[in-house]
C-alpha cells in the first residue's frame, strides 16, 4: 500500500540506511564532512550510524569533537558559510538544548538576517524519542520546538527507505535541515533500492490507504498508526495513514485531500501535547477544511509531563497503539 519499492533492493536496517546515505554522500561530494561526538571508528557513533566511515574516508572527513554542542553546531555553521557541507550529529536530540542559540539564532536566521547573502548547506542530525527507559533527559521528542523556528527544514522519517532518500536530499539542499532519527527505529528493517535515489522534501507518503478516518503521524508514530489501522480494520474501520516525512515543509495538500475523503482526522505525535505539532496540523485542517470535518480533530501525543524512567510509567505517558485506536473511534463517534 505504501510507496516502498519492493524490487531491486535489499532489506536493511534504518541505521544502515542512515549510514549508507552518509557514506555515499561523502563519496559523491568532497565538500561533505561529518562532525560530532564519538563518530570515528571503531566506535562509529553512539547509535552506530557512522560505522566504517572514518576508516574509509579518513579523519579529515569525520571530525570527533569535544562534548560542546553549541560549538559543534556553531562550527558546522562556520564551515557551511565558508564552502563546505557539514553534517553535524548531536547524538541525542535532548542535547540540542545546549545548542539552541546556534540552531535558532544563528543557523536558522543568518541567511534572512544577511538579506539573502548567506547560504547554509548544513544538516544537523539528532536521535530522539522515548521508548527505552532513557528517562527525562535522553528521550525527548522536540520536533515541535524546531518546527517553531523559521529558517529550518525538518525531516522526521519512519522507514529505512525514507530515511536514506531524505537524508541524501537534506545533504544536497543549500538550506539548513534538522534531521531527526527515532532511537526505536534504528533496528527496524525495510527495503531500500540499490543505487542512488533521493526523496523530495514536502511530499507526504500515504503509508496505508483507507476511507473512514485519516491518521497523520510522524516518525515512530507512523508504525503505531499502521498497527492501529490493522486493529481498526478488524473492526470494519478503514483508516488512512499519512506520513508527512518532512514536518517543514508540510505536504498540506495530501492531508487535506485525505480529510476531504474521510471527514475525520487523528494526529499522532510523540512530543508532549501542549503547543505541539499535532495542534499545528489540527489548526491547519480546521481552517482550510472546516466543512469537510464531521467530528472534532483528535490528538494523540505524550502527556504533559517529563518522560518517567520506569517502563510502565513511560508507556503510560507516551502515545500507544490503543490510544490511537480509541482516538479514531472517538472521531467516528464509536465511543
Amino acid at each position: 500500500m505504501s510507496a516502498l519499492p519492493q524490487t531491486a533492493g535489499r532489506e536493511i536496517t534504518f541505521r544502515d540506511a542512515i549510514r549508507d546515505a552518509l557514506f555515499e554522500e561523502l563519496g559523491r561530494d568532497p565538500s561533505v564532512f561529518l562532525i560530532g561526538e564519538d563518530l570515528r571508528d571503531p566506535w562509529g557513533g553512539a547509535y552506530k550510524t557512522t560505522v566504517n566511515i572514518s576508516a574509509v574516508y579518513g579523519n579529515d572527513r569525520v571530525i570527533n569533537t569535544p562534548i560542546a554542542e553549541e560549538s559543534i553546531v556553531g562550527a558546522a555553521l562556520g564551515a557551511a558559510l565558508s564552502g563546505l557541507r557539514p553534517v553535524a550529529e548531536l547524538q541525542y536530540l535532548d542535547f540540542v538544548m545546549r545548542a539552541m542559540d546556534a540552531v535558532v539564532n544563528q543557523v536558522a536566521k543568518v541567511r534572512y538576517m544577511s538579506g539573502g547573502q548567506a547560504k547554509v548547506p548544513l544538516v544537523i542530525r539528532a536521535q530522539g524519542g522515548g521508548g527505552r527507559s532513557s528517562a527525562a533527559q535522553h528521550g525527548n521528542s522536540l520536533e515541535s520546538w524546531l518546527c517553531h523556528v523559521p529558517g529550518l527544514f525538518i525531516a522526521h522519517p519512519s522507514t529505512p527507505y525514507d530515511a536514506k532518500g531524505l537524508l541524501k536530499t537534506a545533504i544536497r539542499l543549500d538550506d539548513p535541515v534538522f534531521f531527526i532519527e527515532h532511537k526505536m527505529l534504528y533496528m527496524n528493517k525495510g527495503y531500500v533500492p540499490d543505487g542512488d535515489y533521493t526523496i523530495p522534501f514536502g511530499v507526504a507518503d500515504i503509508k496505508r490507504r483507507g476511507t473512514d478516518v485519516t491518521i497523520v503521524a510522524n516518525s515512530r508514530m507512523v508504525l503505531y498508526a499502521l498497527e492501529a489501522a490493522e486493529l481498526l480494520a478488524a473492526e470494519g474501520i478503514s483508516a488512512e495513514v499519512i506520513d508527512p516525512r518532512t514536518l517543514v515543509p508540510l505536504d498540506e495538500a495530501t492531508i487535506l485531500e485525505s480529510v476531504a475523503k474521510t471527514n475525520r482526522l487523528v494526529v499522532v505525535n510523540e512530543g508532549v501535547e501542549r503547543c505541539g505539532w499535532a495542534a499545528e496540523v489540527a489548526a491547519m485542517v480546521q481552517k482550510r477544511a472546516f466543512s469537510d470535518l464531521d467530528a472534532p480533530i483528535e490528538r494523540v501525543c505524550t502527556r504533559n509531563v517529563p518522560l518517567p524512567f520506569q517502563p510502565d510509567l513511560e508507556n503510560y505517558v507516551l502515545p500507544s497503539v490503543p490510544d490511537i485506536v480509541t482516538a479514531a473511534k472517538t472521531a467516528l463517534y464509536f465511543n
Binding site: 569533537t65 558546522a76 542559540d101 546556534a102 543568518v110 538576517m113 538579506g115 539542499l173 538550506d175 508540510l250
Partner: protein, 331 residues
Amino acid sequence: MHQARWIDFYRTMTRIRAFERTAREVYTAGKLPGFLHLSIGQEAISTGACAALRADDYMASTHRGHGDTIAKGVSIEGAMAELFGRVTGSCRAKGGSMHIADFSQGILGANGIIAAGVPIAVGAALSSKLRKTDQVALAFFGDGATGSGPLHEGMNMSMLWQLPMIFVRQNNRYAESTPLVEHTGIVDVVQWACGYGMPGIRVDGNDVVEVYDTVNTAVERARMGGGPTFIDCETYRHYGHNIGDPGTARPKDEVEAWKARDPLERHRERILENHIATEAELDTIDAEEQARMDAAVAAAEAAPKPELHEALEGLYVDEQLGKQALQGVRQ
C-alpha cells in the same frame, strides 16, 4: 617598517569614527529604528586587527560591530543604508546595526548574541584547514563574553585542532553596566589562554600599531599551521552601552581619563611626530571621510524602504520548498 600603512590606519579609524558619529547624530534626530551600540574609542582594535587580514580571511564580530565590519571592508553606503532600514542596506534592511554582514568580504556577521560569533569563526578556521587553504579566521568579542561558554569551547577546539584562529578580546572594561571586577574572576585573562595551551598576549588596544603588529604575528603563525592565538586588547568606549544609556554606570573621571587616551588622537600625533604626513593632509582625510558619511546618509535617506513582500522572502535558498514552508501562514 610599515609606516607607509600608518596613513591607511588613520583613514580607517577616521572612517569608523565618522561613521559612528554620523550614525549617532541621525539616531538622536530620530531617523534610525532599533538599537545602536557605538564603538567610538575602540577603533584601533578593529583597524589594527583587520589590517592584518586578507580580503579572503574570515572575521566574526559582535553587537558593537560597526568598526569591525568597516575595517574588514563592508561598504559604507551599504552599512549606513542598513542602519536606516533601506533596501540598499548591506542586508537589505533585514539585519540592522547588530547584524551587518558582507560575506564577499569574509565578514561572517556582526552578532546580537554574546560570544556566538566565536564558534562560527572557529568553524570557518576548521573549514580553511579541511580545504587546505591558508585563510585564517578572527573572532572579536568583548570582555562581556569572557565568562561565556562558547568562547571557552572555541578556545579548546581551536587548540585541539590547531586551527588558524585569532581570538581578539575588545576589553572595554564593562559588560553593559557591570565592571570587569564584577564579572570575571581574574584580572589577567591572558592566563586563561595559557591554560588552553595557546599564546596569549595583552596589548594596548588604543594603540593601532601595537594591535596590528600583534595580530599580524598571530596571523602569520596561523597561516603556517602554528595554531591559534588569544589577544587581549585593553580599551574603553567613549559612550555608554548603547544610545539611551544614561551614562550612570561609569565614573566620570574614569571616562575622561580614557578619552585622554583616545586612539585616533594618539595615532594622529604619532604620524605628525614622525613626519609621515602633515596636519593639512590629515585634515583632508578627516574631511573626505566625513563627506563620504554625509553622502552615505543622503543616499540612504533617498533610498526606498523594502517592499512589504520582502519580509516573506530570502529565508531559504530553495524557493519552491521555502514557499511551501510558508504555506498556511498569514501572507
